[in-house]
């Protein structure tokens, strides 16, 4: 089934009053589809990001996207989706951070702090040099997301990335987790710890880059962190942790895309999605306080 038929189907249902009326607009259907595709993946992967303490890393990779876009514009890729530069630069950034972390005595937060600042400085400088060439709205879209300009090419990238990441993450979930519990024990059980470390970094990077269009470079890392953090606050088992994180991320993505349109609020999609996730996190904290008191 092509995106075209799917879109027609949803628009039909919206026209018949089965779905919100806004979905008669093709661009909004695209936006909703992209949210439904990437939300669950970000939520699921987020549980691993939080458990492996890679929250700061995933924020940093998101910010690296800014530099990736600048490079894309510099080398003449289309403004609306400079994917080659985005994927290329962000992967380079992520692998370099991981490689250096394995070979220095610095803690990863220090190291990421260094790489992140240098990368941002590079991106900002490039964008200023390019300022005469780019429309300021493009910058705004890159920074905060522009879900309403998602086209079929963006959807395809999202779908391929989402399926690929899911296909790798699910069978390797236990091993990825075990590698961070106790590497020695993991190796005895045949887990290639180093290799999986790199693979996970690549998964996080690829998902992050694919989501930049929707959520924006500034906030994209947050959707890997906030839903999982909220789920962790209330869950009592791994099952609850994972399923709640997937649910929270999906709800935040869909709400953040649809609500601004329904309510005619001039809020960028990325901001709305993360605000929705933030509200869920707040709710989770409150639920915990109410049900468990202050046991820490």
């Amino acid at each position: 089934m092509s995106f075209e038929t799917l879109r027609a189907l949803i628009q039909g249902w919206a026209g018949a009053g089965l779905l919100p009326a806004g979905l008669t607009h093709g661009f909004l259907v695209n936006a909703l589809l992209s949210g439904l595709v990437i939300g669950p993946v970000l939520g699921g992967l987020g549980t691993l990001v939080v458990t492996k303490r890679l929250a700061f890393f995933s924020e940093a990779v998101g910010h690296a996207a800014l530099t990736g876009v600048a490079i894309g514009i510099l080398v003449g890729e289309p403004y609306t989706g400079p994917y080659a530069s985005l994927f290329g630069y962000c992967l380079l950034f992520a692998l370099l951070v991981n490689y250096t972390r394995n070979r220095s005595n610095l803690t990863s937060d220090t190291l990421i702090g260094v790489f992140l600042s240098v990368s941002l400085a590079l991106g900002a400088s490039l964008l200023l040099i390019l300022a005469s060439r780019v429309n300021i709205h493009i910058l705004e879209n890159v920074l905060f997301g522009s879900v309403l300009t998602v086209d079929d090419r963006d959807l395809t990238v999202l779908l391929v990335v989402a399926l690929g990441v899911t296909a790798l993450m699910l069978p390797l979930f236990n091993r990825l987790l075990l590698a961070s519990f106790n590497p020695a024990l993991a190796r005895v059980r045949g887990v290639p710890v180093k290799g999986l470390d790199y693979l996970f970094i690549v998964l996080v990077t690829v998902v992050t880059v694919a989501s930049v269009k929707i959520i924006g470079a500034i906030l994209v890392g947050a959707l890997l962190v906030i839903p999982a953090a909220a789920a962790r606050v209330v869950a009592t088992s791994l099952r609850g942790f994972f399923l709640l994180s997937v649910a929270f991320a999906s709800v935040a993505a869909v709400a953040g895309i649809l609500l601004p349109v329904q309510l005619a609020l001039p809020v960028p999609s990325g901001g709305a999605i993360i605000l929705a996730a933030g509200l869920l996190f707040l709710g989770a904290l409150l639920a915990r306080f109410v049900t468990r008191g202050e046991e820490g």
Binding site: F181, A184, T236
Partner: protein, 255 residues
């Protein structure tokens, strides 16, 4: 699950050297562990016991030879009980989830694979009915028991224990003892790092004293004499030992 009988490997350490940075941690360590033995390794803190295990597991850059001689046609199952797991106590992970993460392929968040016998393994370490408890909320001894339980899935042919009794209470010690008996009956080779010499004397079939080098190696009844133990736990073997004969720690260990 039926334990295969007599599939425990022999282990040969031949002149194993391990140097990390500038520090010699193991020097010309030669040891042989018989198939099916309960082979204890004792020694002072920092003596290189955990490092020896890491070398055996292929996780330390050693020189010399470490060879596993498997009786069957291929390598069997190796289990490992680490000295400690660093663990984020706030993680929403039950005891069963923890076992599932370790032992099964199916994503642990889909629930435990009942065929793998987590319940029985937990029962064997006296943790029956505690599978739904949060792993991070367990006491030190309970966590130690879960670490033992994971080593039973699947049934091991070689089990490597790094101070498994540290946090165990008396009931835990009894459980550990019956575990050893069960594993021995199944023919499992047991390499056991332990600091409690009384337990080693009681339960091991052979004991090696390790303080960077192998200082003694033989049956516990002969090896754990007061002088041997004094040698082992004093910084410089033998000569200094006389002078330090009044060290209370060493004497307590030896008694």
């Amino acid at each position: 699950m039926s334990a295969r009988s007599g599939n425990g490997p022999g282990i040969l350490f031949d002149r194993v050297d391990l140097t990390l940075g500038r520090t010699a941690i193991l020097e010309r360590v030669s040891l042989s562990v018989a198939p099916g033995a309960v082979h204890a390794v004792v020694g002072p803190n920092g003596g290189g016991k955990s490092s020896l295990i890491r070398a055996l597991l292929g996780q330390a850059p050693h020189r010399g030879t470490i060879r596993l001689d498997w009786p069957g046609d291929g390598p069997g199952t190796v289990a490992y009980v680490p000295q400690a797991v660093e663990f984020d106590r706030g993680l929403p992970l039950t005891v069963e989830d923890f076992l599932a993460v370790l032992c099964q392929r199916r994503p642990a968040f889909l629930g435990p694979d009942r065929r793998l016998g987590y319940g029985e393994a937990l029962a064997r370490v006296g943790m029956a009915g505690k599978g739904r408890r949060r792993f991070g909320a367990l006491s030190g001894g309970e966590r130690q028991r879960v670490l033992l339980a994971q080593a039973l899935i699947p049934a091991p042919d070689l089990i490597i224990l790094d101070e498994p009794m540290t946090a165990l209470d008396e009931a835990g010690v009894a459980i550990f003892e019956s575990l050893l008996a069960g594993l021995t009956a199944a023919g499992t080779t047991i390499l056991w790092v332990e600091h409690d010499l009384a337990q080693v004397r009681r339960l091991a079939t052979r004991v090696s004293g390790l303080n960077r080098r192998v200082l003694f190696d033989g049956p516990p009844a002969d090896m754990l004499s007061p002088e041997q133990v004094l040698d082992l736990f004093s910084a410089v073997p033998r000569r200094k030992a006389e002078a330090e004969a009044s060290r209370p720690a060493a004497r307590r260990m030896a008694s």
